[in-house]
Amino acid sequence: MNPANYLYLSALLFTIGASGVLIRRNAIVLFMCVELMLNAANLALVTFSRLHGNLDGQVIAFFTMVVAAAEVVVGLAIIVSVFRTRHSASVDDTNLMKQ
């Protein structure tokens, strides 16, 4: 087996995540899809680190994890505060600017 198979897996997971962002309407599930995309990118970075034989890819994957954690904290706080005012977690209901 060639380690490039990990890259195919990563591409597949990224695609599923991207489709999920387009298809799903629940804001929390949208966030989960974004997390999946970040994870897929991390897997690609770790695989590239192995292909090239240096640890830079792993360092960048580590930073990606930190940024993902910060993003989730703020994003979920936004979801909670939107839910408090609009009583819905669906992205279709957040259309105040349209009305």
């Binding site: 087996m1 195919y8 997971l13 799903r24 680190s49 192995r50 090239h52 640890l55 580590f62 706080a77």
Partner: protein
């Protein structure tokens, strides 16, 4: 096409058979978890599927010589981030399902087509890359994976590391600012609340407890007043607001009304004693000729066809009286 050949022929740098087996098992779990997250309609199920995917990816990291990242993936992603997701799912409403209604027409089909096209592009790009050989991390991990990462983070990437610290602090403050709510009124003490209840003439005594019957003794079952009607205040106001009060059952209530009527007949009391104030706690007008005063008569006469009902009626007679006193 390159992909197929690279799968079929062991290239210059091929991994061990054990890793190949592990990869195929993990890849199936990861993709199944991702698809489950995409297709489950409940957010909790999506979160659990995503946790499975993340665990599979953590093992992939470990297999690829990224021991530190594998551990961090389990601790941070499945341990912290997914639990945060679950907390918010519980907070926002665990029973809410995604709506099936499409706001934009044909959006789902278009999104699926776009996703498939994007995936084909990505995979074709990887297949065309020259990935026959790989170096491996043996020399890079010679001094230990964690030590090697630490050397890089604290020398070459130290600026990024410091900026990351600022980002984390900002995120923590941002979460606090976004979810904080100002108290709009001063919190009243227990003493003030009690004084207010006495002053306004509201119910001073504790509210009646929920009904206890042979079959149900849950808090969502209302107690019965002497005339067989449910005492609304015996059920928590939260359950009442959610319309989750369990019906006592017309059979039981009808039986009680029958007993009451029979007792009234036997005692020769045709006109029931009207008491004032019962409408406060009564949901519906009592069925049949109500004779609240005749409850003791039921037991006294040995009409014990329904012991549970009688017990409930007697148990609740006093609470009903408390209601009316207030």
């Amino acid at each position: 096409m390159n992909a197929l050949t690279s799968l079929a022929l062991p290239a210059a740098g091929a991994t061990s058979t054990g890793e190949a087996v592990q990869f195929w098992v993990l890849a199936v779990i990861a993709v199944a978890g991702a698809l489950g997250m995409l297709l489950c309609r409940k957010a909790v199920h999506s979160a659990l599927c995503l946790a499975a995917t993340m665990l599979a990816l953590a093992v992939c990291y470990l297999a690829q010589g990224a021991a530190f990242l594998g551990a961090v993936q389990i601790v941070v992603y499945t341990g912290a981030i997914m639990m945060l997701f679950l907390f918010v799912v519980m907070l926002v409403g665990v029973s809410t399902e995604d709506s099936v209604k499409e706001v934009l027409k044909g959006q789902r089909v278009a999104a699926a087509v776009c996703g498939v096209g994007f995936g084909i592009l990505l995979i074709a790009g990887i297949a065309n890359a020259n990935l026959r050989t790989f170096t491996g991390l043996k020399s890079a991990n010679a001094g230990g994976n964690v030590q090697g990462l630490a050397r890089l983070i604290f020398t070459q990437y130290v600026w990024a590391f410091e900026v990351t610290g600022a980002l984390l602090i900002t995120a923590a403050v941002g979460a606090m600012v976004l979810t904080h709510r100002e108290a709009t009124s001063v919190r009243r003490s227990q003493r003030e609340l009690a004084e207010q209840r006495v002053r306004l003439g509201q119910q001073v005594t504790p509210l009646p407890s929920p009904g206890v019957y042979a079959r149900h003794n849950a808090v969502d079952v209302p107690a019965l007043l002497p005339d067989g009607s449910p005492a609304e205040t015996s059920v928590s106001s939260t359950l009442r607001a959610r319309n989750q009060v369990r019906e006592v059952g017309t059979g039981l209530r009808g039986k009680i009304a029958e007993l009451e009527a029979g007792t009234s007949d036997w005692l020769g009391r045709r006109t029931p004693v009207q008491r004032t104030g019962t409408d406060v706690v009564r949901a519906a007008p009592p069925p049949g000729p109500p004779a609240p005063g005749a409850v003791t008569g039921v037991n006294g006469n040995g009409v014990n066809g329904n012991g549970a009902a009688n017990g409930a009626v007697n148990g609740k007679a006093s609470s009903g009286d408390e209601e009316e006193r207030s």
